[in-house]
Amino acid sequence: MPPPQRTLILDAEAIAKTLAEMADRIVEVAGRESDLLLVGIQRRGVELANRLATLVEARTGQAVARGKLDITLYRDDLQAIGPRPIVGETMLPPTLDGRMVVIVDDVLYTGRTIRAALDEFADFGRPRRVLLAVLVDRGGRELPIQPDIVGFHTTAAPGDLVNVSVVELDGVDSAELVPGATP
């Protein structure tokens, strides 16, 4: 079988531009909130949340709190899947009570990750408001979850993979569409 064709949907320059636009949107919606917290979903959402926080800080001159969240233990398919996935680090403030939280992830697909993240948040308190910011929305939702801030829209078929790479982990910034990559 030939290796799957890869289509570049965002290169490094486009990602930088997209993140800048997303930061503008975050500032519009929540920039004045002194208790703003950007929470990245492990793993690549963490890097994107860090960059967005820096961009928001540059725009508002206010420090923005960062957090990271691993949702593995809250997955709804944990009882069904085989070997257990590696669990990443979760780092949140002791309480989310009353805070303005923006969840940041690289790709939004079925919405199940965000469902898990919202469940996990409930165990950390009761945020005043939770927003969802994603770099790529690829469609294909299986739950009634919609993003508030989207960097890039694309439509990918169920078997396709939308793969985001970040410099911090992968040495390059890119978003690719790999058709037929998952069975």
């Binding site: 233990l73 085989g82 070997p83 950390f124």
Partner: protein, 320 residues
């Protein structure tokens, strides 16, 4: 890819270094769960776990129970007294009856070496060894390894001296396997009556005097003198044991470097370890207990993902 753990955790002897590291690395994120104000994640929701303790235990049983509850499993405790075990029911019959009530995992402690493997081969549920006779106590060794890694940032090349009653100690055996597999150097120190004959064939250094251990090691794992397992005549008297082999601050003051002190508990204060050492700045005895919950959460989480089909063939020639 790392091979999954298989159905049961019986001991560290049959595991690969990668499997041991997988358990240690998985324990890291679980440490944070116990620091939350709601100390619970839904990972084992709907799983039923039976803690089958045929020997007394405070720390290990409660640590397993916390680990289970913090993963949202449902738990039942069965002790040998007050159950049908005291009427003469066999281990397998007890476990099969529990299985008939549809359980998912058994955590077993038993005075017979091999009890956990024996059980694991006969029931479908995952079996976790919480100490079997003088054989192994894998989760204790894992929490010791995790605590050492926390302190030193590495295990490779680390010199760990296991001191005291090595003969009766499943903790010593599991520690020796785990430390050697992860590249640490292991010394054993104790009176000749309490060191198993031929122990150096495992690849450990025998240190005849406690002063030798203190000079050689980066960390001491001080074992409890297991008075309940001793027939008689292993040591002349507790006071003499303390005088010759006790870990005291006077002895530690002469060490060439600051030693990290571990003890699996429960301690015989003033016998194998003096109070000022146990409560001193180099003691990691309480961090060990904290890490125990995280390690057990990791083990339960990883085993629950393994279907019975993946059970690795039991090690040893005498297995069927």
């Amino acid at each position: 890819m790392t091979r999954p753990l298989g159905k049961d955790l019986i001991g560290l002897e049959s595991l690969t270094p990668e499997q041991i590291l997988l358990m240690l690395d998985t324990a890291e994120p679980f440490k944070e769960v116990s620091e939350r104000s709601i100390k619970k994640v839904p990972a084992l929701r709907g799983k039923t776990i039976v803690n089958l303790f045929f020997e007394p235990s405070t720390r290990t049983r409660i640590s397993f129970e916390f680990a289970e509850k913090r993963l949202s499993a449902d738990t039942v405790n069965v002790a040998s007294t007050g159950s049908s075990v005291s009427k003469g029911e066999t281990l397998v019959d007890t476990a099969r009856n529990l299985e008939a009530m549809r359980i998912d995992m058994v955590v077993v402690r038993h005075s017979m070496s091999g009890a956990a493997q024996f059980l694991g081969e006969r029931i479908r549920s995952n079996v976790v060894n919480a100490g079997d006779g003088k054989h192994e106590h894998p989760t204790q060794a894992l929490l010791d390894l995790l605590t050492l890694r926390d302190r030193f940032g590495r295990l490779e090349g680390l010199k760990v001296a296991i001191c005291g009653d090595v003969l009766h100690s499943r903790v010593a055996r599991s520690n020796i396997w785990g430390l050697l597999k992860l590249g640490a150097q292991v010394g054993v120190c104790g009176p000749p009556t309490l060191l198993p004959r031929g122990i150096e064939t495992l690849g450990v250094t025998v240190l005849p005097r406690i002063e030798d251990a203190i000079e050689w090691a980066d960390a001491l794992n001080v074992l409890r003198l297991q008075l309940e397992r001793m027939q008689s005549g292993f040591v002349p008297s507790l006071r003499e044991y303390n005088r010759v082999f006790g870990v005291t601050s006077e002895r530690l003051d002469r060490a060439p470097r600051d030693l990290v002190i571990l003890h699996p508990g429960p301690m015989n204060r003033g016998v194998e370890i003096d109070s000022d050492v146990a409560d001193g700045p180099h003691s990691v005895i309480l961090p060990q207990v904290t890490n125990g919950v995280a390690v057990r959460m990791a083990v339960l989480y990883l085993l629950a993902g393994g279907a019975p089909d993946w059970a690795a063939p039991p090690a040893g020639e005498d297995s069927r």
